[in-house]
């Protein structure tokens, strides 16, 4: 239940954001700041490592979709990896799996970026 810590790991042209904690409305500004920073530096290939994510709010999901959409226009994307079963259940019931690409492992998500 703690506030989300976002740790960015550079991987060539790609960034892996490791999430640890809860992404609720209170810690939403942190996510926004991290995504904005990526956008400003034109880095639009992102994998979210959600192994340590225990909660995600609709605002955060919306921000991820927004980023993914813009990134796709630039031949990039934002993909999710290592979602816990309960978070995956939520994402699926909300229909998110149709909008964001979800992988089991981080390296699968990384490899799925072509070019």
């Amino acid at each position: 239940m703690k506030e989300c810590v976002i740790h960015r790991e550079e991987h060539g042209h790609l960034d892996i954001l490791h999430l640890d904690g809860s992404l609720d409305a209170y810690s939403f500004p942190r996510l926004e700041a991290a995504l904005n920073q990526l956008r400003e530096t034109n880095r639009n290939r992102v994998v979210l490592d959600c192994a340590g994510l225990d909660y995600i709010s609709s605002a955060a999901l919306g921000a991820l979709i927004g980023f993914a959409r813009r990134a796709r226009e630039q031949n990039g994307d934002l993909k999710l990896a290592k979602l816990s079963p309960k978070i995956f259940n939520i994402v699926e019931l909300l229909g998110f799996h149709k909008i964001l690409e979800i992988h089991n492992e981080v390296d699968q998500a990384v490899k799925s970026f072509v070019g």
């Binding site: 605002a59 979709i65 927004g66």
Partner: protein, 152 residues
């Protein structure tokens, strides 16, 4: 010996009062998760109800923020009362607040989510998706009350 009291179903109502402030959302989430697990709700359903309650709290917090910006800076910006209890095979949450009532309008499905746009619509989508019972009553003695229930 008489009747068989069903203390499990009408047992202990949990009441919390929190300021209308996002930093308290996690305590509300903790309370609802604890009660759901204690009631025997499955992990997935607990997570769903947790999210619905959190989204509802956020709706109330942001509605108050919009209506009275100075509330954000106040030490005790008004209160949200949170009541959690079991009722038969359901877990029930009642959120009561003062100030401006919620609009409770249309939901927006994920295809239309952009993050910056209508946050209330996205929150409502989640709530409606994840609860079994939903009602909102304006102007009760306890304030405007949002009641959500979910079967165990």
């Amino acid at each position: 010996m008489g009747h068989e009291p069903d203390n499990q179903s009408h047992g202990g109502m949990v009441t919390l009062y929190t300021p209308l402030n996002y930093s308290y959302a996690r305590i509300i989430r903790q309370a609802i998760v604890d009660l759901c697990v204690h009631a025997g709700m499955s992990e997935f359903k607990t997570a769903q109800f947790e999210m619905a309650v959190d989204e509802a709290s956020s709706l109330i917090f942001s509605a108050q923020e919009r209506s009275a910006p100075e509330i954000r800076d106040a030490a005790l910006p008004g209160e949200l009362s949170v009541r959690l209890y079991q009722d038969g095979d359901q877990v029930v949450v009642e959120l009561c607040h003062g100030g401006e009532p919620l609009e409770m309008g249309e939901s927006a499905s994920p295809e239309n989510w952009f993050g910056e746009d209508d946050l209330e619509a996205t929150g409502l989508f989640v709530i409606r998706r994840f609860v079994d019972g939903l009602s909102y009553q304006r102007g009760t003695p306890l304030g405007h009350c949002l009641r959500m229930s979910k079967k165990k």
